[in-house]
Subunit: 398 residues, 2 copies
């Protein structure tokens, strides 16, 4: 890995992803193993005119110690200092960059799944949701290629190969990545516009083990991941992003869905997840592996039993093109269609979070449900059945 590549990556995240403003406070967060990237982000932020860069390093080993040895009360505790940091970020309308890419992906694998799934800083998650709803922060998430993550992906610690895949997915291979991102977001936005024009009442997934209808609300909007803060600052919340998504109606999902890719969740891996829905609510959780961590998380609150997102991704996705399972949702969710249980996305809902049909929760977990064998159709408001995806090919004209 060259420092030059790391610096270009950090510049892209700061300039296009979070789109840091002159004079803004910048909040960085990631694992201690991501230090080289976090440091590059700090330098890029100061170069972009940050008034201060506040870094929060996290460590899965500390989380492991807490889940393994700590009292129950520790699992849902929000340290007041951390909460104050978050509140301050909202108050000053800060910018934020978070990093993913687990260095020890199996570190929590042997712990009690329900305990792992239920461990969440509740008050902090609520504050985080509030800020998302009020659009107080321009933020982004990017991944840091590292040995442990490469080991999980390739079976060997080939960081260089992972870097190449990541660079391709985030368009760092382009001569002018900023221009490439502008074009890319335009394409996704026009796809979202076409869906909105169609007037979608529900999306139906059919495939092996899957027959699920996700009903939308009248306020559901299809959008792409180019967000705007409350004061009009654009930012790209994930890099990569390949999806158009909406916030479905909380109570209108029916049927059964089976995941099509492994889901790396809170330090465990979930394979062959099967969720059954009645009146929007998850009524059963099964999986070949890792059902407990999902059960633990679905039991977080009432809203965690309902969907908050539905996203459509086709075979032109750069992530999908790599053919790689990344075991990192930031990437895997952009390889194919996905849905998420937990909170709805404010940017794809016409109204305040918590309004008619909008699902409120402190969790939001995406999992992958698309692929060449899964047919995706729209049922329109006027009762038509319109194919959206066949064999991973986008069917709707944009």
């Amino acid at each position: 890995m060259t420092d030059e590549r790391l610096d270009r990556y950090a510049e892209l995240a700061v300039r296009v992803g979070a789109n840091v403003e002159e004079g803004q406070e910048v909040f960085l967060g990631g694992r201690i193993e991501h230090a080289p990237l976090i440091r590059a982000l700090a330098r890029a932020s100061f170069r972009a005119g940050a008034s201060y860069v506040d870094v929060l390093y996290t460590d899965q080993h500390i989380r492991r110690a807490m889940i393994e040895l700590g009292p129950d009360s520790a699992l849902t505790y929000s340290p007041p200092g951390l909460l104050a940091r978050w509140k301050h970020m909202g108050e000053v309308k800060g910018a934020s960059v978070g990093t993913t890419g687990e260095a020890e992906p199996n570190l929590l694998a042997d712990l009690d799944g329900e305990r792992v799934g239920g461990a969440q800083m509740k008050e902090l998650a609520q504050e985080s949701m509030r800020q998302l709803g009020e659009k107080l922060v321009n933020w982004t998430g990017i991944a840091y290629p590292n040995e442990g993550w490469a080991q999980q992906v390739f079976g060997e610690p080939d960081v260089e190969r992972l870097w190449e895949a990541v660079a391709f997915c985030v368009r760092l291979d382009e001569e002018d990545p900023v221009a490439a991102w502008t074009d890319h977001m335009k394409r996704l936005k026009s796809r979202a516009a076409a869906l909105n024009e169609l007037g979608v009442d529900a999306i139906r997934f059919r495939g092996p083990g899957t027959d699920l209808t996700v009903g939308l609300s009248e306020r559901s909007i299809f959008d792409a991941a180019l967000f705007e803060t409350s004061w009009g600052r654009e930012h790209v919340p994930n890099m990569p992003t390949e999806e158009v998504f909406t916030t479905p109606h909380r109570d209108r999902t029916e049927g059964v869905i089976r995941s099509t890719r492994p889901l790396a969740l809170l330090g465990q891996v979930v394979v062959g997840l099967e969720l059954r829905f009645e009146n929007g609510r998850i009524v059963s959780v099964a999986a070949e592996e890792g059902a407990d961590v999902v059960r633990g998380q679905v039991d977080t609150d009432e809203g965690s039993h309902y969907l908050g997102e539905l996203a459509l991704v086709d075979g032109t996705s750069r992530v999908g093109q790599t053919g790689i399972t990344f075991f990192d949702t930031l990437f895997d969710e952009n390889a194919t269609c996905h849905i998420a249980y937990g909170f709805g996305i404010p940017h794809s809902y016409d109204g305040e979070p918590g309004g008619e049909g909008y699902n409120v929760s402190t969790v939001h977990t995406d999992f992958m449900v698309g692929g060449p064998e899964v047919e995706v159709d729209a049922v329109t408001n006027d009762g038509r059945d319109v194919p959206i995806l066949r064999q991973d090919v986008w069917q709707l004209e944009t």
Copy 2:
């Protein structure tokens, strides 16, 4: 390094150093490079009954980015989240362990010294001083042997050799380190008692480049580093500790003193420091290397121009016996006599911090002034001149 040794070390720091109570919140802080020790401390804390373990990882590279690229206002800014974390620690009467041992000791060496010396979270430092004065936290500091630090000490990254030296200094080589610490602290406490009984009015240092008289106040008390919190919880604030110390009178230091060992200060190294005092105040700062960082720090506030500590260490010191310059004040200050400019120590002052003769500041920097060539004498309240140290040998009966 074996995990078993790391666990014993962490247990010692948690059980004897911070002396964590059942049900206490524990606050850990250290460099990201100290993660193996921080993790062991977290496990030891939970095993000791901690209700929660809050970890704050810091990164010198982020500090470097700020000093190099950030605006002036960033240098003295205290992030509100961090401030809230500290206040909370005091409110709940928490326990705390901090770690030292720079992994990249020369990282800030090429930066502007005055900027390095002046970079301090002011409000946070004030809060920290307040809590020290009110004795709200049972805390300790220990060091983490690592490659970069070993490289600085030995000229090669011989971590094992550094570990052996550290283990010897903190009595981890003893079969029962807890018992060894109990005996050791008793010895130091009786030495402090003998000095208090003597009735010391001033301490005089004479040696090459040095002729300094440090006057005490009527409220100055000699003590050893076995502290008690406001609610009576004992803790050992540094491991190792070999000193007996007092808080001198703010205005009664006269003469000149030359440091006898290099001082690692804020990412730079200060060699041959020479300070001149008039009426207690530092009136000139000179050094063979690194004068600027001292100047920058001495200019922090008015109190940083005055002494806040005087400490006596003899040749029986385990740190001194190693013959090693550690470039880490936690060790080097325990090899020989030292003094500190900046805030006074509440535990060695009979009264509230800020009372008659007590120096208040947001900094506290120890530097080494003792050695075989330096004679140390006490001038007693009744006008006698009593030898305390000759050739590093303790002269006073205990």
